[in-house]
Amino acid sequence: MSFGERTSRILLSTPVLRIGSIFTTLFGISIFVFLVLRVIPGDSIVGAFGIETGVLTPEQIAQLKIYYGIDKSLPMQYLSWMQSFLTGNMGYSYSTGISIASLTAKALPVTIELALIGTILGVVMGIAVGTFSARKPGSIRDFAGQLFGLMALAVPGFVLSTTIVTIMANKFHYFPNGYEFVRLWEDPWMNLQQMMFPGLVLGIAVAAPVMRTTRSALLETVDKDFVRTAIGKGVSPRKVQTRHILRNSLIPIVTMTGIQFGYLLGGAVIVENIFSLPGMGRQVLYAITRREYATVQSSVMVFAILFIAINVITDLIYRKVDPRIKK
């Protein structure tokens, strides 16, 4: 069979299947979020007011239920949530009355910027240290590299952040976050200063797995047959290293980076709170402490959509890096 026929058939089938599977996953996520946050707590009025329902009269409770849309049956509640989510306002925050969509529109760019900075720093550090380690396995430098990887894995982000804040603020009296948060387009220099340390904390968390993946991928690729072929045809050592070894090692590194970018969003919850960045993480935590379930629900959903989007992007890059994956 010719190449053309095979490719066209796959083109017809796979993307359709893929898009279908993304949507089923998103649907599953929405149900999961809905169940976790609406059904398990039983009564979100208790949550919203932080009081026992006994204090309120039955009429008051009924009114409140209608007000929050929780008087309806579960499927109806789900549908009305989905309706508000999909039409764009995502519901309203109980305490402020601002639409969750507009809150998210402000918070999301902060988190994405933070995650991007963290990923870039982490990938650069991770690949650098991983290559440094893999050059001479078993040597002192390999030990040092692996120790870095291990510590980056083991020191929690909140410890690192707290330490940095303590040292910077108290010893150097440097408060880039002490004032109002400045957006990138308002004052890029100030914004980057505010983002630097939280980005670094997240970057270190990303660097650890990227470093380990880089190291093992490089060590594995060195022994591959095609590397021997390249050496056997007289390719210079430098080109063997870059074109053959590093190029093939990129495949697992890309996969690992994609996964880590997703986990960074979780790390953002902690880091944003310590460094007072008005991102999605702080929005969620704020909503949780105020028991604003509608906000939590929609924000968590946004996180999940972001996570899926990153998976799709990783997949696209992966296809670029590895021609064996059917397009």
């Binding site: 996520i29 410890v159 996570f307």
Partner: protein, 285 residues
């Protein structure tokens, strides 16, 4: 007693060949002893006892790790906090591993719609960053230790599903399993005698790694105020409480942080050691 040279060397033999495995095991044993002391209350001070007179004292012979702003003994509180962290993590990982491995093995072995369903479900949970999902669940469940455990268990179950399912899919296609089908053995026997023994290695490694993640998640939750509640001691909570005084009392930040780091390092090293010991490809003959 002379060792039978024909008897294959056990995993323990290979484990003891790995330096990182031994170091990790020592760190872990140390932390377990520390937790046991806390369980039986063999502590120099009451971790909850406040004594303003002794507030914010540096490490000394009386207060080995110093005291916090309420004059509580940080050493005793760290030990007690480690106990809590380990309790929550071990219960969470036990639940996650039991459910995850069972589902993973069944879904890998049975295939078809059951597999589809399980994989989809775990994909859904996978789509959330771990700490965020734990946070959301804790916020609705409540934050007693078993509720926290349950939340963390939900987060890590899909990982065990994946870790168990993958090798089952591989082993299921091995010729020695096909032979058992030709020989007419029951599915239960094939699973128990031929598949399970050959998929345990990655699961065991995963237990060690998941424990370390669970500890990080638990202390993260406590740090954010959604895990252990004051005045009880928890490592994450202690770091959180130390934020305001760290500039003047470094010990309040340092010691609980060091405890978390040591136990996570220990578990990761144990994971590396187990992987080296249990992977036949790494055992050079």
């Amino acid at each position: 007693m002379k060792r039978d040279p024909l008897k294959p060397k056990g995993g323990f033999y290979y484990y003891m060949q790995s330096t990182s495995g031994i170091v990790g095991a020592l760190l872990l044993i140390f932390m377990v002893i520390v937790s046991i002391c806390a369980v039986f209350g063999w502590l120099p001070h009451d971790p909850l006892e406040q004594n303003v007179e002794f507030a914010m004292q540096g490490p000394s012979t009386t207060f080995w790790f110093g005291t916090d702003e309420f004059g509580r003994d940080i050493f005793s509180r760290s030990l007690d906090g480690m106990r809590r962290s380990l309790t929550v993590s071990v219960s969470a990982v036990s639940i996650a591993a039991t459910i995850g491995v069972t589902l993973g093995i069944l879904s890998g072995y049975l295939g078809r719609w059951f597999d589809q369903l399980v994989v989809r479900l775990s994909d859904v949970i996978f789509a959330f960053p771990a700490i965020l999902l734990a946070l959301a669940i804790v916020s609705t469940l409540g934050n007693s230790w078993y509720q926290t455990s349950l939340a963390i268990a939900v987060v890590y179950t899909p990982i065990f599903i994946r870790v168990a399912r993958g090798p089952v899919l591989t082993v299921k296609e091995m010729d020695y399993v096909k032979v058992t089908r030709i020989l007419g053995f029951s599915s239960l026997r094939i699973l128990r005698k031929h598949i399970l023994p050959n998929v345990t290695a990655p699961i065991v490694v995963q237990v060690a790694l998941s424990l370390s993640w669970a500890i990080l998640t638990e202390s993260g939750l406590s740090f954010l105020g959604l895990g252990t509640q004051p005045p009880n001691a928890s490592l994450g909570l202690m770091v959180s409480e130390a934020q305001s005084i760290a500039a003047f009392a470094w010990w309040a930040l340092f010691f609980p942080s060091a405890f978390i780091t040591i136990v996570v390092v220990g578990l990761n090293l144990v994971g590396d050691g187990l992987r080296d010991a249990l992977d036949p490809a790494r055992r050079s003959s």
